[in-house]
Symmetry: C2
Subunit: 457 residues, 2 copies
């Protein structure tokens, strides 16, 4: 087990001391005793380091053409995290008024906020303009008119980007990229919708078209899709210049940078992937004699993902005999699909380690499951675990920072776990554990009242 | 559109009046004006009728051998719903202390509560015994000792069932049922684990083995899997009688009864499916000369599923040109995978109707999507909708009562929708809409504190 904490997967401070995993120089047993389980443990310095790393890598790759590294709030956000993001020099990408509310609670600088979404409500748009967000990324023709009207009513000239669909299927190589047009997001370049949107934006005095945006997917391990997307966006910038005799200043290439969840996952380091993309951006701009625009990116998972570890306590174990006569060891923990829906939702794979002690017991074919009343409530489908794992042991699942707590539910009326921030032997909750009282607080008793015109019989 | 509200899919009071859908004799427009969108609309009489129907159908099918129809709280529970369940004469199946907390808040009769779960914590077991739940359904050997010990400490003789795995794959016919052993739940009959568990329970004075339980799956449209499961459980009852010279009194056949989500779904009515199962139970018992045990069931989805309709408001529409040159109409609504994860999680299909008006516009190939920043945030993948649907229109999705609100998340910091109970022209929230304040309330600021032995450097 000495090599079990692969540093590509685990947060930087994770290590084994006398057999036990420590994070932020606190043993998981002590964390479990203090905060109970399940819990998300956030390595504060790891988070801050990764945030800085991506901001700096953007600077290094693009120099004076570096725009903003917008942290994707959807991966995980809290007011504390928003403040760290600001301190690290990043911007914030929010998708809803809920995420905006966190930014506002953190006093996040409005100009460094970008509002996304395929279906922003009028009140979301109004709230964003009132707060003064730097840029709204527009996603549909209707939204162009909507943002223009609301900005006009508020006598604001709103900076906007247009979200384009570059027709890049991020899972394939450039050569066989047949496009990925059938999605709800953006204006297709290929169909001409993108150009129509540009013409439409130009009609509105209350909108200032700053540039173009694309986001091509998630967990992308190679730069080629980013490069292809950038080159297609640059061709639109060139057409714009040809048509209007002026250049758009900004290009936001979105996020989707992969992290390592399991052995063998090899994400490309920030500097390396951004430098490859920068080279391509420069060559494409040269080709069409365009000034290099300011380049922004939207890292989310790649910052927060590896910074958190979920710790669970084992409750029961069970040997199950399979059809072929072999056996599988089922290890049940005290969380599950309510705190990590990704295995059930995307067949996502995770690593797991016995955390409170090391073991030299023989390994055994195991499956780690949650406590929900659902067969699909599986955390790790297939893993070799020490055969002496027993109720009371702690298991740690790394790389759960992104889309873990942020997609958590109260399925089976389970209280959502806290997020515990650890740093140099000290710890604190930044999101507390939910209680049954919290869940019951949404129940209200009110008198039935007559609604509307009274179609009642 | 006159036939669009198929009564097999929609709640009983749903109808169109002057083109507009009304539920509980209130138009969806009035409901949306009063409670905003998205919202779950719960047809109170529909829920109560279905609850009574299943309780009565169990009585009719099994007569004096009818046990309890336990409502599966995981599908959807609130204190109000728990009180309706009690009034309709059903019991309550809870899986966690969170669900138990709702039952306790509703003063639900303890003897009619059944505690489930593959990994009940000690505190959950203790809470259940303290409240006096009628039966604990035991799922693992470790749990036998655990429940026995806690009951002993409390000087209680606790009624228990053993959850068995009858090796029935609910998707296949009896003939080709090769078993479905590779799951976390239950003791396998085939492997001998079930018998070992029986012997283990018998050793404990603090446990009273009342009988056996099995639950074979979800959305099951035919009785054959239930019949096969029952017959395998009865063979264990017979072996028990042969071995111990006494008969176990109870058999809980679980839930999993299908409902209709889309046209063509043909669930078997309660009376019919339970009568088929009853016939098989009787014949199997006769075969092995066993007294017919008390038969319990666990309907959840089949009661609450059809009783709720989700109403959404359209925010944007967009034409997307596909690879083959055809177009798809994307209709974006103000909810999505946070209020209904089932399409993304299980590729579940739903129906949808334009709700605030009727339309004679030509139909158009459409996809209804949510507002989350995720391509998979799809509510209805493929549907023909009137081509004049426009922002502001209301859409209604029926049959969202089960595993809708109960699995809802705050993904993208979206507030979860309320559950609005409608009855004869009157309405009230039984679960209120969440607010951003609720979400922020879980954030806390505390001083970092030294944890544990201070391994810090």
């Amino acid at each position: 087990m000495s090599q079990d904490l692969n540093p590509v997967i685990w947060p930087m401070s994770a290590r084994r001391v006398n057999g036990e995993i420590t994070i932020g120089y606190i043993s998981v047993s002590d964390l479990a005793d203090e905060f109970e389980t399940p819990a998300f443990i956030l390595d504060e310095l790891d988070f801050k380091a990764r945030a800085s790393l991506w901001a700096k890598a953007l600077q290094e790759a693009f120099g004076t053409n570096a725009g903003t590294a917008y942290y994707a709030a959807k991966s995980f956000i809290s007011t504390q995290v928003a403040r760290w993001i600001e301190q690290a020099g990043l911007g914030l990408d929010v998708c809803t008024d809920g995420e905006l509310a966190v930014a506002i609670a953190a006093n996040f600088p409005a100009k460094k906020i970008e509002l996304h979404g395929n279906n922003k409500s009028e009140s979301e748009i109004a709230a964003a303009i009132d707060y003064g967000v730097g840029v709204i990324v527009i996603d549909s023709l209707q939204e162009i008119d909507r943002v223009a009207r609301i900005a006009h009513e508020k006598s604001v000239t709103q900076g906007v980007l247009l979200r384009l669909n570059p027709g890049v299927d991020a899972d394939t190589h450039e050569a066989i990229s047949t496009g990925h047009e059938d999605v709800k997001f953006g204006f297709s370049i290929a169909s001409g919708a993108a150009w129509d949107a540009i013409l439409s934006v130009k009609k509105h005095d209350s909108l200032e078209l700053r540039g173009l945006h694309a986001h091509i997917g998630s967990q992308i391990f190679t730069p080629d899709s980013f490069e292809l997307s950038a080159s297609r966006l640059i061709s639109v910038l060139a057409k714009y210049r040809d048509e209007f005799g002026a250049e758009l200043a900004e290009l936001d290439l979105g996020g989707g940078y992969a992290i390592a969840y399991i052995e063998g996952d090899k994400p490309i380091p920030a500097q390396e992937i951004l430098s490859v993309i920068a080279t391509r951006v420069k060559s494409e701009c040269e080709k069409v004699r365009l000034k290099i625009p300011r380049i922004s990116i939207e890292p989310g998972r790649v910052i927060v993902g590896p910074s958190m570890v979920t710790i669970y306590r084992v409750g029961t174990t069970k040997e199950v005999t399979l059809e072929d006569g072999s056996t599988r060891w089922y290890v049940s923990v005290d969380g599950g699909m309510s705190d990590n829906i990704r295995p059930a939702l995307y067949e996502a794979q995770y690593s797991i380690s016995l955390a409170n002690r090391s073991s030299s017991a023989p390994l055994r074919k195991s499956r780690v499951v949650g406590k929900h009343c659902e067969t699909g409530d599986i955390i790790i489908r297939d893993v070799q675990l020490p055969s002496d794992i027993t109720p009371g042991d702690l298991l740690a699942v790394p790389a759960t920072g992104a889309y873990g707590r942020s997609m958590a539910s109260n399925y089976n009326h389970m209280a959502r776990p806290p997020v515990i921030c650890v740093l140099n032997g000290r710890a604190r909750s930044i999101i507390r554990r939910e209680t049954h009282r919290d869940l019951l607080a949404l129940e209200i008793e009110e008198e039935p009242r007559q609604i509307g015109k009274g179609e009642a019989k």
